[in-house]
């Protein structure tokens, strides 16, 4: 009997569908990212940031194109490429024309490919892909396409900035590379080898290790190996649980060398690493948090924390993406994806941080200043995970210096 009722639950829930009342005059942005499963923390954090940015930066200011409001519609992709495509279909079916996604380059690769095909097959119903976090360089190189815009700096750009910093540190003689065994991890490793080879041929790469993604339960053996190699610095692109594990294990072996990372902050990572990574962990990112760059930003950050005390502004580029989307609509005077895309190409923009950003037209890669920050609890205005620890910017690489040539051969619709 109980089972019968469980089936009824399903039926009831299906019936309770009219969840979100939808105003006719909104521009929907479909947010396709993991909202359940192991990576849900990152996904929901991004969602809150999107919602906040849309509310604060667009809707409260009267919307775009004479009063149209932005609306974020969340779609759970469970970080699976297949599920992302299902959700993409659904979003398109529900009239969404702008897709935002960021977690996992694997998903981004699937989405950009699917959106390209969709736009080709359905010229009357095109959609635009706002990639706010997936940094596989291929997305703006070999696999670039007109409908994809990347607001984060790609792995190569970040590595270029990072190696500029390492270049200046003459005490670093041996570097250990460790990363997750997939496209992004490999891209990081390849970029590190390339740029270190160019900038500091004297540095020896004492380890270039790829470990399976999301499957390592204990990083101690890796930490032991790093320790035994005598490395003076570690570079890793690890994120999520893999970053937590690696950070912890390195801390425990008593290894006292700088660790250069892409994603070792927020979503529980800062809190878990805590004191063991102080002044050791460095992060390459856009959008500085400490010290606060402008008052506008400080207010924005405080307002966000007021509303989401458990969350952080971990991806500042989200605010950029929202503001630039709105600006592009105003500039082109249209909310049609193709017009927005044309307006976005080559667009210059000043962020809340007061930084000058350019959406490069040739490959749709955002060119922006890149910061290298240290994990510490000193002089931190805005901490992460409410842990007292946060990121303090040490070095900034100017936007122009980060730009790298692209191999993209963009085919534009007529």
């Amino acid at each position: 009997m109980k089972i019968k009722s469980t089936i009824l639950t399903g039926a009831t829930l299906a019936a309770l569908s009219a969840f979100s009342a939808q105003a006719a005059d909104t521009i929907k942005i479909g947010f396709i990212d993991p909202l359940s499963g192991p990576f849900a923390a990152t996904g929901t954090n991004g969602l809150q940031q999107f919602r906040f940015a849309v509310e604060e930066l667009v809707n409260k200011k009267g919307g775009v194109l004479g009063g149209k409001k932005f609306e974020i519609v969340p779609y759970d992709n469970k970080i699976s490429p297949k599920e992302s495509l299902v959700q993409l279909k659904r979003a398109i079916g529900e009239g969404v024309q702008f897709i935002a996604q960021g977690n996992s380059s694997g998903v981004a690769n699937a989405l950009t490919d699917a959106i390209k095909k969709h736009n080709k097959r359905n010229p009357d119903n095109r959609v635009l892909f706002l990639n706010y976090s997936a940094v596989d360089p291929a997305l703006t190189n070999a696999k670039c396409n007109f409908w994809h815009f990347r607001f984060d700096a790609n792995a190569d750009i970040k590595m270029n900035a990072l190696t500029d910093v390492i270049k200046a540190k003459s005490d670093i003689k041996k570097v250990y590379l460790i990363g997750q065994d997939y496209s992004f991890g490999k891209a990081v490793a390849a970029a590190a080898v390339k740029f270190l080879g160019e900038k500091r041929p004297d540095i020896k790469i004492v380890g270039n290790e790829l470990h399976p993604i999301g499957k390592v339960k204990d990083f101690t053996p890796y930490a032991t190996k790093i320790r035994a190699s005598g490395a003076d610095a570690v570079i890793t692109g690890n994120w999520g649980a893999d970053m937590i594990g690696l950070g912890k294990a390195i801390g425990e072996t008593g290894l006292d060398v700088p660790i250069y990372t892409y994603y070792a902050a927020n979503d529980g990572i800062t809190k878990t690493i805590g004191a063991s990574g102080k002044n050791k962990i460095r992060l390459v990112h856009e959008g500085p948090a400490n010290p606060p760059s402008t008052d506008t930003y400080a207010t924005y950050h405080k307002d966000f924390k007021k509303k989401n005390p458990e969350k952080d502004i971990s991806q500042f580029r989200i605010a950029n993406a929202v503001q630039m989307l709105a600006a592009a609509m105003e500039k082109g005077g249209s909310a049609k994806p193709i017009d927005v895309a044309r307006a976005l190409e080559g667009m210059e923009f000043t962020s809340l941080h007061g930084e000058k950003l350019t959406m490069r037209a040739e490959d749709h890669q955002m060119i922006q200043p890149i910061h290298i920050s240290v994990h510490t609890d000193e002089n931190i205005t805005f901490d992460s995970d409410n842990s007292g620890f946060g990121l303090r910017t040490e070095t900034t690489v100017a936007a122009a210096d980060t730009a790298l040539p692209s191999t993209c051969k963009m085919r534009r619709p007529k």
Binding site: P212, D218, G254
Partner: protein
């Protein structure tokens, strides 16, 4: 090199003994009831989460005792009201039940504790380096894990060989049908063993939570490895489970530590390979890369060539 080997050996033993805490309970349950409990690693996860919550209020040490007891009670309830009920539908249903339970527990944990990693830390008193060799620290907490695991192993050994209950359990392991004839309350013994097995898994979770992270995926990461140990060690053999745990623990750490690849092997026979051949991935395959699949390779090979496991007395 010696530094690497020394620490790999230590780490391997720590991992191996932790695995044994999980595997010992599972072996007992599997041997007696014939149920390969998919939810066993979920009990391990529950242990970590219970202890985390307890540690928020009264600190780490009470959690070390209370959490395993809670998990044990929960396990006993699962046996009494879940497994025993499902038993009537047969073996496959039991297996599927534990499979579904593992899925459900993960969802419930996410519902109650959320999806992110919990800041469950080792107690302050154990946050120091116990000794430093070759400039590398060995954390005191690891030593603590080692001690607990060894303690549990000795305790189990004593109970199973010296006490009356132990003898009944041993009889039940080797000849499941005989025990009932000896006039023992088999359902009660089953419930007890299931509870104790779960409690052991819970204890493993309590001590592993701070070291390996407390997050909803922690059961999945470890779950199938424990199966491998039980099958490789052999049905009805605690000693087998012990040896298999150590083998798997050492296998995994040493595979990561030693950077040999297929191309090194080929170089020995002076065979050269094309960099762009279709099999290039095979030629560049390295030991650390395949480390996580070695246990499964072992599992399949054992099942094909020695279905009794290394020390098993009867077939799985």
């Amino acid at each position: 090199m010696f530094e690497l080997l020394f620490f790999s050996l230590l780490n391997g033993i720590v991992t191996g003994l932790l695995l044994f805490m999980l595997a010992s309970g599972l072996t007992l349950i599997f041997s007696m009831m014939g149920v390969l409990n998919f939810a066993h690693a979920s009990f391990y996860m529950l242990g970590a989460y219970f202890a985390y919550t307890i540690s928020l209020y009264v600190g780490f040490w009470p959690g070390l005792i209370i959490a395993p007891i809670l998990v044990g009670l929960f396990g006993a309830l699962v046996e009494r009201y879940g497994l025993r009920y499902v038993h009537r539908w047969g073996h496959v249903a039991e297996l599927i039940f534990t499979f579904g339970l593992a899925f459900l527990i993960e969802e419930v944990v996410q519902f109650i504790w959320g999806k992110d990693t919990k800041a469950y830390h080792e107690p302050e008193i154990l946050q120091f380096a116990l000794f430093t060799v070759f400039g590398q620290d060995f954390p005191a907490y690891k030593a603590f894990m080692l001690l607990i695991s060894i303690g549990i192993f000795i305790m189990l050994l004593m109970i199973l060989t010296r006490s009356r209950v132990g003898l009944i359990i041993q009889a039940a392991i080797t000849k499941p049908n005989m025990t009932a004839m000896l006039g023992h309350n088999v359902p009660l013994v089953f419930m007890g063993v299931f509870g104790v097995g779960s409690a052991l898994a819970g204890l493993a979770g309590v001590i592993a939570g701070p070291a390996l992270g407390t997050f909803p995926g922690m059961a999945v990461v470890l779950g199938s490895i424990v199966f491998v140990i039980v099958v490789v060690g052999g049905l009805g053999s605690l000693g087998g489970a012990f040896v298999a745990s150590l083998i798997i623990g050492l296998l995994q750490t040493f595979a990561i530590a030693l950077d040999y690849s297929v191309s090194d092997l080929l170089a020995v026979f002076s065979i050269t390979t094309e960099a762009d051949s279709a099999l290039r991935d095979l030629w560049t395959l390295s030991l650390p890369q395949v480390a996580p699949i070695l246990p499964y390779l072992l599992l399949v090979l054992i099942l094909i060539f020695r279905p009794t496991g290394l020390f098993g007395k009867r077939e799985t």
